[in-house]
Point group: C2
């Protein structure tokens, strides 16, 4: 895999990220996706958590009730969908660690999935929030995977995100307006 | 929505569909997707069934056990992913009815979802299998939605699928080789 030529995305002002809203990153993304959907901008959904169902009861006159089930490891990322005709795929994670993002937060097969999407011409990225810093980054999957494959460390320093990520702006209607960053990335690609 | 100009896809020979394998359509598609994935042709997955979790037990030294949960209505289709850089989205249904496919088999919001995908430039379709006829059709979502919106009937006759659908060939490795049909559709689009 080639590393994008010397691209260093200087972190933009994160003035827009200063509100402490107590919402999880996932909730913020789901809300943003609802806005995109309502405005016919994109159709991006969170995949349901995969569950292994073992036993289901069928009580009379009521809905089937699952009485034994277990969480399964997801084989793909959490979010995917369509934007401008293109396939979008990303994983979202938040961390309470202020200085580093541990690789253990992301499953190996999720990274492999992002790589497959890239190789098939899709738009793949990660959205990573540092809760204590109150900042949310979008990271191109290619950059993240390059780092992942070329380090012997078990985590990524915060500064790496500042140097290589795009900070995502916050607004009330679109708490994580990541498609604004995707537009910027698509423009940069076209300029090359 | 415009109806594609007089397009009538004459049903091709379904000689390849004659094996009775006792596998469900969903299993066949999942197996085909595994082939596409292994061959790096496409990355298309079935979405997990959405489940409303009510109660989880955490037994000592074992995995979290879900002890009360219910099935939720899916808000999108079952399958989506990427092929040739494009966003692919489809719903798969089989019926034991030999003469008609009832609209009740598909949720209204799934049809709305397919329409959204079309409007955003994605490739959207349905895969419908008539079990008793041993034939599996791919139907462009645009054709299906047009019919759905312009009929007062509660089902689609089998003959409509023969006139408007593409029969999907079977082979052992790719039980439902639907991307072969997608290629054909993409070619037809380019010719226009």
């Amino acid at each position: 895999m080639k590393y994008p030529n010397g691209k260093k995305n200087i972190q933009t002002s994160n003035k827009t990220n200063t509100s402490n809203r107590g919402m999880s990153l996932e909730q913020d993304i789901v809300q943003t996706n609802l806005y995109y959907l309502a405005e016919k901008i994109a159709c991006i959904h969170k995949k349901p958590t995969p569950i292994q169902i073992v036993k289901v009861d069928y009580p009379k006159r009521s809905a089937a009730k699952i009485v034994e089930a277990y969480f399964k490891l997801p084989s793909t990322t959490d979010f995917n969908g369509i934007y401008k005709g293109k396939y979008i795929d990303f994983e979202a994670k938040e961390t309470n660690n202020s200085t580093r993002f541990p690789f253990s937060s992301i499953h190996k097969h999720q990274i492999e999935h992002l790589e497959r999407v890239l190789n098939l011409g899709g738009i793949a990225f990660l959205i990573i929030r540092f809760n204590n810093k109150n900042i949310t980054f979008l990271i191109n999957a290619s950059d993240f995977i390059y780092y992942y494959k070329n380090t012997d460390k078990s985590s990524v320093p915060y500064q790496w995100f500042c140097d290589n990520g795009y900070s995502i702006s916050y607004n009330y209607i679109k708490p994580v307006d990541y498609l604004k960053v995707v537009d910027q990335i698509l423009e940069e690609k076209n300029e090359k």
